[in-house]
């Protein structure tokens, strides 16, 4: 059955697209050999590269009309082929998400899917061959333009090639899910459609895309368009034959395909479970692409896309995407960035593992002298050796050049004399998490450093104000809370203590930015944001097992969140001792709302909760762990406990907002996404709490107005 529509079928879409930034379809004729003509369509929204081409309803209709016109010209014998390319550096960054967010109903969502399919499908019915010259960035719907064409070339310098839809809670629904596996084989397609989006939205280089078979030819940037036109000329004249090594054959379709789908399903099952819908929809579509014809594939994509676009998870994902793309770059509550002091030398107090990791990060990102210190030379030497060893490793992996290695190695020095901190303008401590120790360290440092040198503490559980109690100039102290592993986790909670001044705060934010971290400003309250929320979850989880609920029931209760790991796995990951300490400090601060757990201290002595096999996979709960927590007499059902988790979190987050811990619910969500890996489909936390009714139950309102939810 053909895939046919009329322009008028899409009037509903155009109705809410009046303000779309339209990517125009400009057509120019290009002369090729033997007096023939190639019609070259340029997609260009008329903006510079900071506003990439995007694809909304108006854009698609204009593109469809341009293609219709070329089909007519082809019929008259005026053109030998049609090619599509983009504006400089960019083909298209995909569907216009601002428009997708405005889709008012599931039916209109389906229309959006259909319009894309119907438009792109014209590339295969022009009567002459179609080409897409991917001259730069191509994401999602941008990639799918190429997939719908007969032939593809790619610029070796293209910034990124990806189908990120699953990352955003949808599926490649303008042909990608059906066309890609049929072009490059199921295993390659799984990598592009599923694996990469789930690996923190990894993208492909142009060379990788070419190697996978997503392009038939790859050319360098200096002459990309000229070479692509010449190549298309060769294809049209028959002098170039295109072979597609990765295109699936019969055996792949019947044998390899189901196996690959099974393996991928198992991976999704173990990593994500069944909460997130988009990976499963994608798997379903990829699976059926082995046997359905193209237009049936398109129709299946239409249905999947309609359901997902209209659903809660996509709304939450777009919200979350917007947070990490925009809010993360401009911390709410930040003072004028121009106030920030220039950092020319960094001091790190301590030479242990954490201190060494700080030093490594600071020297790599800030490229200024970094001084570490400890009580004895042996520890200092060990720290320096560690840092230089890590730099050597970076060199051996080709991540830094030999010159850079020499530069960075020379910048790192160690001392046992705190007087050497005198010319540091930023000193961060990484000493033992004990108030008296930190107070003394800073009081001592203050004897040597300049009056306006900024002091930063990495405390996770102490009051920054208390740490600064012995300072003559407490206004220069700021909390600077990293997450482990320091080199990887993108979040820093920048804690504005009562006395922290604007210059200090601005400087801390600038440092975070230069470290390529995302900062969220918090007040000096216990646990700041991430640890307070995690303490709530872990405290409730331990309380449940302490009072007789089985470990498995606890896991089951919180499974609907779709978190990256269970509460007990998280406890083992952060360390049971650390976990127990976190619960203790929060219980001390908020005894009526946060549980402490003596049993957790006993589990910490045992050292673990789970039994694991040789590869580290969990095989069950250790019998001794069960014995430690045994004795509770008031077990809860999974349902009871889920409501307890949800309502407890809604209550606590509301309290945090009322208390001004951060500026807005968005900042809580941003912290949890970046610092704790909370999933996009939850929108971090608050959109989830709103949509399951927890906010209403806990405080009779919602965090967001209107709540972040789907239309269906």
């Amino acid at each position: 059955m053909a895939y046919e529509f009329q322009y008028s079928d899409f009037d509903e879409l155009l109705a809410f697209s009046a303000d779309e930034v339209v990517t125009h379809s400009f057509v120019r004729d290009v002369p090729i050999s033997n007096g023939r003509t190639l019609a070259l369509i340029t997609l260009d929204n008329g903006r510079d590269h900071t506003r990439p081409n995007t694809l909304g309803p108006v854009t698609l209709v204009e593109f469809a009309r341009a293609l219709d016109a070329q089909r007519e010209r082809a019929g008259r014998g005026e053109i030998a082929g049609v090619a599509v390319t983009g504006k400089p550096f960019i083909l298209a960054a995909g569907a216009d998400l601002s428009k997708v967010g405005e889709v008012p109903s599931k039916d209109v969502a389906r229309k959006l899917a259909q319009l894309g399919h119907w438009t792109y499908d014209k590339l295969s019915t022009l009567g002459v061959p179609s080409f897409v010259f991917t001259n730069g960035l191509a994401l999602g719907g941008g990639v799918e333009i190429g997939l719908n064409a007969d032939y593809r070339t790619i610029d070796s310098s293209a910034a990124a090639i990806a189908l990120p839809e699953v990352f955003l809670g949808i599926i490649p629904g303008w042909g990608g899910a059906w066309l890609l596996p049929n072009l490059i084989g199921i295993e390659n397609a799984l990598r592009v459609v599923l694996e990469n989006p789930l690996k923190n939205n990894r993208t492909l280089t142009a060379q990788e895309a070419y190697d996978l078979g997503m392009a038939d030819a790859i050319f360098g940037p200096a002459n990309f368009l000229e070479d692509s036109i010449a190549w298309a000329d060769g294809v049209l004249s028959g002098s170039i034959r295109v072979e597609r090594r990765n295109a699936p054959g019969r055996i792949e379709r019947t044998a390899k395909w189901p196996i690959a789908i099974k393996i991928a399903s198992d991976t999704v099952e173990s990593r994500l479970g069944h909460v997130a819908k988009s990976p499963w929809k994608a798997l379903e579509l990829l699976k059926s692409a082995a046997k359905t014809d193209k237009h049936d594939g398109f129709r299946a994509e239409d249905e999947a896309l309609a359901e997902l676009i209209a659903g809660d998870q996509f709304a939450a994902s777009i919200y979350a995407f917007d947070l990490v793309q925009k809010r993360a770059r401009r911390p709410a509550g930040a003072p004028d960035a121009a106030l920030a002091k220039k950092i020319t030398k960094v001091g790190v107090v301590g030479a242990g593992l954490m201190a060494s990791q700080f030093a490594l990060l600071f020297v790599r990102r800030l490229q200024v002298p970094v001084l570490i210190s400890d009580l004895d030379q042996e520890r200092v030497d060990k720290g320096i050796a560690y840092i230089r060893g890590e730099l050597e490793t970076l060199r051996s992996k080709g991540r830094i050049s030999p010159d850079e290695l020499n530069r960075l190695s020379a910048l790192v020095t160690g001392t046992v004399d705190r007087a050497d901190y005198a010319d540091c303008d930023w000193v961060i401590e990484a000493v033992f998490e004990e108030l008296g120790v930190k107070q003394d360290v800073f009081a001592d440092i203050e004897r040597y450093v300049a009056e306006d040198a900024v002091l930063a503490t990495n405390t996770s559980s102490l009051s920054v104000d208390a740490i600064g109690a012995k300072l003559a100039h407490p206004e220069r102290l700021v909390g600077f809370h990293f997450f482990n592993p320091v080199a990887v986790m993108p979040l820093v909670e920048v804690v504005r203590a009562t006395k922290t001044d604007d210059v200090t705060l601005a400087t801390a934010l600038a440092v975070a930015k230069n470290l390529k971290k995302n900062a969220v400003i918090t007040r000096d309250t216990p646990g700041f944001v991430v640890n307070r929320v995690l303490a709530k979850v872990l405290g409730e989880a331990m309380h449940a097992v302490d009072t007789g609920t089985d470990f498995a029931v606890v896991d089951e209760s919180i499974a609907p969140f779709g978190l990256p790991m269970t509460a007990f796995e998280l406890l083992e990951l952060v360390g049971l001792k650390v976990g127990a300490h976190v619960l203790d400090t929060h219980h001390a601060a908020f005894p009526d709302r946060f549980f402490e757990s003596p049993n957790l201290h006993r589990l910490a002595e045992l050292g673990h909760i789970f039994e694991r096999d040789g590869k580290g996979r969990i095989t069950g709960v250790d019998k001794r762990a069960r014995a430690i927590v045994a004795g509770g007499t008031t077990p809860m059902t999974a349902e009871q406990l889920r409501v307890r988790f949800e309502d407890g979190l809604a209550d606590e987050v509301k309290r945090m907002l009322d208390d001004g811990v951060v500026q807005a619910a968005e900042d809580i969500d941003l912290c949890l996404i970046l610092g704790a890996g909370y999933p996009f489909q939850m929108g971090g936390l608050t959109p989830y709490l709103d949509r399951v009714g927890a906010s209403q139950r806990a405080f009779g309102d919602t965090f967001h107005h209107p709540p972040i939810a789907g239309v269906a």
Partner: protein
């Protein structure tokens, strides 16, 4: 070991390519294309056509531009080498002799080869007159005028062409127009016969209305008639003789060539298109710069031990028709001599200042292929501020049967 004069390395023109030449200005096809991109595309074109040369063997890259700022600045020979993908071990430099820039890059690379310093190099030029109008931003020393070293008129090329008419009354406007029309018609015929296209690199051109592809010179006017030419304004003088029709225009374009020692060409399995015989540059009064090629040609002939009668093909840059005619008259050659610019010249193709010298060589090389009976050819051009440049070439395909 020093080379004795008789044993100096032979220098050959291996190959050359160019971009199509565009019309300068906002309506021109290269308005949104960078000058450095143009010359890089010409370089890549000629490099890709000669893949047997290991890229790291190029000893130097000399690129000329008259106005060396913006996208023609920053030592364009070096930047173009990097942008064209040559190894970073290959050096490069920028050069300026106004209109004879590319010609001078060829002779400069040739000189280094003849000295034995180089084996092979790239020579070429670029001028984006739309982005860099001639003399734009220049700051002539006030002494030129105060001491009457050079009259103000000398800085305007049209005026210098009018001065040739003054000096040689036999060079009438009618002759200039007829010559100009012939240039347009010969160029059109050459395009029709596919003589020009093989040495053009197509250039993707950005515009407000999407990407296009430049595949031929933009300023060609095959429809030119004497009547049409007669009616054109004379912008440099009331009732003057120099018009837009009998002059080259304002253009954007780039050229690139590979110049090598004969030994290197052999080593890389190349078939050189021309052998360098001699070259010369000469100065004349800036006010009448168009006659510059006369003394430079005489000097080059003398150095080569040849006479004008030995020259079987001429590629003369047509900055102005009258300026070409002054050379032809000087040497007693007819205005319509078939040896002269057989495929037309700059009046038709355009004259992006510092790039043009290599275009002359590209066309002479092609004509050598078609004329094995011709042994020697001349490329010559006038240069602003009163200079001429001439290079004499020998046809490697010469078969000894002089017609």
């Amino acid at each position: 070991m020093a080379h004795s004069p008789s044993a100096r390395p032979e220098v050959v023109f291996v190959d050359g390519m160019r971009t199509p030449f565009g019309r300068a200005g906002e309506k021109g096809m290269y308005w949104q294309t960078r000058a450095d991109d143009l010359v890089v595309k010409a370089m890549i074109g000629v490099l890709e056509r000669n893949p047997s040369i290991p890229r790291d063997r190029f000893d130097d890259v000399a690129i000329a531009a008259t106005t060396q700022q913006g996208d023609q600045g920053l030592t364009i020979g070096r930047t173009a080498a990097i942008l064209a993908g040559l190894p970073k071990s290959v050096p490069g430099y920028a050069l300026d002799r106004m209109c004879a820039g590319a010609m001078t890059t060829v002779t400069t690379i040739a000189g280094a080869i003849a000295f034995g310093a180089y084996d092979i190099g790239i020579a070429g030029g670029v001028e984006h007159m739309g982005r860099h109008p001639m003399g734009f931003g220049a700051d002539p020393n006030p002494r030129f005028l105060a001491e009457r070293l050079v009259s103000a008129e000398a800085l305007n090329m049209g005026n210098t062409a009018e001065r040739i008419h003054d000096r040689f009354p036999a060079l009438t406007k009618a002759r200039a127009d007829r010559y100009a029309m012939a240039s347009q018609h010969k160029a059109a015929a050459a395009y029709e016969a596919g003589k020009i296209q093989p040495d053009l690199v197509p250039v993707a051109i950005k515009s407000e209305n999407g990407w296009g592809l430049a595949t031929r010179d933009e300023a060609l006017r095959p429809e030119t008639t004497l009547e049409g030419l007669a009616g054109l304004k004379t912008p440099f003088r009331p009732h003057g003789r120099v018009t837009a029709g009998n002059s080259s225009g304002l253009n954007d374009g780039a050229t690139a060539s590979i110049i090598a020692s004969a030994d290197a060409a052999r080593e890389f399995g190349l078939a050189p298109k021309m052998r360098l015989v001699s070259f010369a540059f000469a100065g004349v009064e800036p006010e009448i710069m168009g006659i510059g090629p006369v003394p430079s040609t005489e000097k080059a002939l003398r150095k080569a031990g040849l006479t004008i009668d030995d020259i079987g093909l001429f590629e003369l840059n047509e900055a102005f028709a009258v300026q070409v005619l002054s050379l032809l008259d000087h040497f007693g050659i007819a205005d319509d001599d078939p040896r002269v610019n057989p495929w037309g010249g700059a009046i038709a193709f355009g004259h992006p200042l510092a790039s043009s010298g290599v275009r002359l060589m590209i066309q002479l090389a092609r004509q050598f292929e078609e004329h094995p009976e011709v042994r020697y050819g001349l490329t010559a051009m006038c240069v602003g501020l009163g200079q001429g440049g001439s290079v004499i070439w020998e046809n490697p395909l010469f078969d000894g049967e002089k017609k």
